[in-house]
């Protein structure tokens, strides 16, 4: 009896422990609920059963006006044939949710600062940051200001209908595997307003560059004059987006860099505050971290310079690459009303980049200065209630942010104070307020929805007028042979010098913005005489032609220079040549800078340097996968840049407060007597340009020889690590890492280095002739967010090798080739 009792108690204890682990998991050990994870029918492995789309499926979708058919082609792209546009958006919502529900929820939660409700307390720092940046606050304001009858608003609601119709069919087995690993449940419903949050997330990625903070910190160390020279308003190499008539080469506007000056003591206080705020986890990484890999390209060619006699358009927006991709490909058809193909952000109700029967469009980021920070004076830093404005105290508006756990319990609160400018951030004993165009009410979706139906370049440009943020170079071409580009978005008009390059004085309204630039003042060009248009994030205006401030410290012009030279050299352009251009390996940066290393090495007479110089001298400046010089050049550049800008290091052992663009390094290289060559850390020794370059090259050569052995195949550029395309939440088993791609620093396909994950997120080429539209495209990844699906990464290898898929665009169900139907989804009212 006693033994039986003991055994029973033992069984009870074991049962209880196992039930707890199965039902609740062990969160402290990072173990999710094991039952719902390991269960063969409904657990993670069930993802395999839903990896393929069903051959045919019928589902109800409340709100549909008529039956809607969705044909998935053999690339997993839904072609939606609907009776009206809102039904098309409903069907799109259903299709996107079926493939990408977890991604949609994750992106919404990242923008709204509610990740803790999905991932627990570990996401609290990210959530706090999102709320302090006012992302959710701004999204709420935008939603409240929307006209509920606007096309964008109606599209969002219709899209939500589709998402929720899919959500209603979700079972434990079809629940994405990520939820099972996180021990969370999918959100109960998708609210139409969540689409606005997604756009705020994109604004954060593309329009939140804390350049002012970096410059402020730099000026506090080296003085304003030197900071202005290192982070200049205008790029010294001009190949602007808005072409200059008659110009057939970049304009050089070099100057001599002033020596480092005395610290600007007036900036010490804002610099101290800026130092903490700048290093936010959510913000876009600086070019120091990404190697310019966030740079995007687009170009369009007029019929006079193409082989077919039609217009050609190419685009490859570079973003953070992820699995699943940031993009979802779709085709929406409503007879006599809509026929648009392209990509959308999962969660946005319409096509963002793509083409219809008559017009094609794509974007690059314009950048520029669309945000300012203001140093505020408050009554009490420990418990601020008021801020001083024009000599009087104004109340700070507190907004209490509440953070909840997966189970809904409140795990933290945070009070964010708002001035009339926007949210504030308190760091290092100071309060900075943040004024950002992305916070203003807007309805970008009205523009996107209307643009999908445009029939000409002019019509498309008019349709996009409601667009506000993030500022984009919107390139468009039509079947009439027109090409045009215009920067859309808002640029603030500032008082005094008109520039917003430093942290501003918050104590006076005289620091505030006074309006926004009208659209007529934006960078733009239509059918330029040169017959082509190129944008690659370069400074849009040549200041010698249009001396208007819309930003400073522009990205390096290497990609723009290379694209322009390739386009100038070819007046019979073809789509396949455009495809090759998208992965062109030549770096103008290397072409202009490498010779300085070679000359410095040759002057030294050192034998090691002779070998290194020989490698660089014989290099054609192409980052081909088997090229050996790029590895040496990049290692030498890293060392040379670090030692040149030592004056920007505030504390020994810490990284510099900011790193000037490579083109400024080139500007310094042109002056062998510049005081910037002296490394102040070496005490009495005075370094020279050639000495610094030679030392950097020798150190790089020795270091690489030690790691890779003698120069040979081990030095191949392909061995530097390649690009990583990681799962959305970096689940190691679902990542695809170290992909050898033809890319390099300063090339048209810039790389972000061995640890990077930025690159061409959607390569697209469209040919528009009078007779037809033809398109090719690809993105890294696949349509499905299910890691067990063949469609999770089925495009990755073709993307890696620079190939494009030919896009199928049947205008009707009847025209759809039966052999290419992968799956049929019938949605019924």
């Amino acid at each position: 009896m006693a033994r039986g009792l003991v055994g029973t108690i033992g069984s009870a204890v074991l049962t209880a422990a196992l039930l707890y682990a199965c039902a609740r998991g062990v969160s402290r050990a990072g173990i999710p609920p094991l039952g719902s994870l390991l269960d063969p029918v409904n657990g993670a492995a069930a993802a395999l059963r839903y990896g393929d789309l069903p051959e045919s499926e019928k589902q109800p979708l409340a709100g549909l006006a008529a039956d809607t058919r969705v044909l998935f082609d053999d690339r997993g792209v839904p072609h939606i044939y609907a009776a009206n546009t809102r039904d098309a958006y409903r069907a799109l919502g259903y299709a996107v949710a079926r493939d990408r529900f977890f991604q949609m929820e994750l992106t919404y939660r990242a923008a709204s600062g509610t990740l803790t409700e999905l991932a627990g307390a570990r996401a609290l720092p990210l959530d706090k940051e999102a709320r302090r940046l006012g992302l959710g606050w701004a999204a709420e304001q935008k939603w409240a200001a929307l006209d509920s009858n606007s096309e964008g608003s109606r599209a969002m609601r219709a899209f939500a209908d589709g998402v929720n119709a899919y959500r209603a069919t979700m079972t434990p087995a079809t629940t994405p595997v990520e939820y099972k690993l996180l021990g969370a449940q999918p959100m109960a419903a998708w609210d139409a307003r969540y689409s606005v949050y997604l756009l705020m997330r994109m604004a954060l990625t593309l329009a939140h560059d804390p350049n002012d903070l970096r410059r402020t910190r730099a000026a506090a160390l080296i003085g304003r004059e030197a900071a202005d020279a290192l982070f200049p308003r205008n790029n010294p190499l001009q190949e602007p987006i808005q072409p200059v008539t008659g110009r057939i080469a970049p304009r050089e506007a070099w100057s001599t860099l002033p020596p480092p000056g005395a610290p600007d003591t007036s900036l010490l206080v804002p610099a101290k505050a800026a130092g903490v705020i700048e290093h936010t986890a959510l913000a876009m990484p600086s070019s120091d971290e990404t190697g310019d890999a966030l740079g995007s390209n687009n170009w369009a060619i007029a019929p006079t310079r193409t082989a077919s006699g039609g217009a050609l358009l190419a685009g490859d927006p570079h973003l953070d690459l992820s699995l699943p991709s940031i993009w979802y490909e779709a085709h929406l058809v409503v007879k006599d009303s809509l026929d648009v193909y392209g990509v959308t952000f999962p969660g946005a109700p319409t096509i963002v980049i793509g083409f219809n029967q008559n017009v094609a469009w794509t974007f690059t980021n314009t950048g520029g200065d669309v945000a300012d920070y203001f140093l505020e004076e408050v009554d009490d830093m420990k418990a601020p209630k008021r801020y001083r404005l024009d000599g009087a105290w104004q109340p700070l508006k507190p907004r209490v942010e509440t953070f909840r756990s997966v189970s809904g319990e409140i795990i933290a609160t945070d009070t964010v104070f708002y001035t009339h400018r926007g949210p504030t951030m308190a760091e290092n004993g100071h309060l900075l307020s943040f004024r950002w165009t992305a916070h203003d009410p807007s309805n970008e979706l009205d523009g996107f929805v209307a643009a999908t139906r445009a029939s000409s370049v002019t019509g498309w440009q008019e349709a996009m007028l409601p667009y506000r943020t993030p500022t984009q170079n919107m390139l468009v071409a039509d079947r009439g042979g027109n090409i045009a580009i215009r920067a859309y978005g808002e640029y603030p008009i500032r008082p005094n010098d008109g520039e917003g390059t430093y942290v501003r004085d918050g104590r006076t309204r005289a620091s505030d913005w006074t309006g926004m630039l009208p659209i007529s003042d934006m960078p733009q060009s239509t059918n330029p005489a040169q017959g082509f248009i190129v944008s690659a994030n370069q400074q849009p205006f040549d200041p010698a032609v249009v001396p208007k401030f819309i930003g400073s410290n522009w990205p390096d012009p290497w990609r723009a220079m290379r694209l322009n030279e390739m386009l100038r050299a070819d007046d019979k352009m073809t789509p396949d040549r455009m495809r090759q251009m998208q992965t062109d390996p030549l770096s103008v940066r290397a072409r202009l800078i490498a010779p300085y290393f070679v000359r410095a090495a040759e002057r030294s007479g050192d034998t090691t340097l002779a070998a290194a110089a020989s490698l660089l001298r014989d290099w054609d400046h192409r980052y081909a996968l088997d090229a050996q010089a790029p590895m040496l050049f990049e290692a030498a550049m890293k060392r040379a840049i670090r030692n040149t800008w030592d004056e920007l290091i505030a504390e020994a052992g810490k990284p510099p407060v900011a790193v000037p663009a490579n083109v400024i390094f080139l500007e310094a290289l042109r002056d062998s007597t510049s005081t910037w060559w002296d490394d102040r850390r070496t005490g009495g020794t005075v370094e020279t340009r050639d000495g610094l370059l030679a030392a950097a090259l020798e150190s790089a050569y020795d270091s690489l020889s030690l790691v890779h052995g003698p120069v040979g195949s081990n030095w191949a550029w392909s061995r530097t690590g390649g690009i990583n395309v990681r799962h959305l939440v970096n689940l190691a088993g679902f990542n695809r890492e170290h992909l050898a791609v033809t890319s390099g620093y300063g090339t048209v396909a810039p790389a972000s280095g061995a640890t990077g994950s930025h690159g061409a997120s959607w390569r697209m080429i469209v040919e528009l002739t009078k007779e037809r539209r033809t398109a090719w495209a690809i993105y890294p990844g696949g349509q499905s967010g299910n890691p067990a699906s063949r469609r999770y990464d089925d495009r990755l290898e073709r993307w890696r090798t620079g190939q494009l898929d030919s896009l199928m665009v049947p205008e009707s169900e009847a025209a759809f080739p039966k052999t290419r139907i992968l799956s049929t989804l019938d949605l019924r009212p």
Binding site: G4, L14, T15, L34, G35, A45, L181, F734
Partner: protein, 124 residues
């Protein structure tokens, strides 16, 4: 027959209540089979067979070993540990609940099942 019935019950219950089939069916079968020798081990083994069959069925839909390897890496585990956990869970959970069921029954009616309770695997 008891063993085969147990496997079938686990299979059927999996489709209705998912992983809860392990404790629920395990408990019920433990009570029913309390007089059987080594009932907990038998039921744990039946649950293992049922899960094995179900995973075999899942494997017909795709590359299960590759997916489980990816899953393990995503959990920062060696794949072998995850496979071991997948195999151990049905044995332990169904076996423990069976032992609990048979133990409770033997405690309630000791005169009828004293002998079998001592030999009831985890429950004895």
């Amino acid at each position: 027959m008891f063993f085969v019935t147990a496997v079938i019950l686990f299979l059927a219950a999996e489709f209705v209540i998912g992983w809860w089939a392990l404790p629920v069916v395990g408990l019920i079968l433990g009570v029913i089979g309390a007089r059987r020798t080594g009932v907990a081990l038998q039921i744990g083994g039946a649950a293992l067979i049922a899960w094995g069959l179900l995973f075999g069925w899942v494997a017909t839909h795709g590359d299960l070993p590759a997916f489980m390897t990816s899953l393990a890496l995503s959990m920062k585990l060696q794949p072998g540990i995850l496979i071991t956990a997948v195999a151990a869970l049905p044995v332990l959970l169904a076996g423990a609940t069976a032992g609990l069921g048979s133990g409770i029954r033997n405690l309630i009616r000791p005169e009828k099942s004293a002998a079998s309770s001592q030999a009831a695997g985890l429950g004895a």
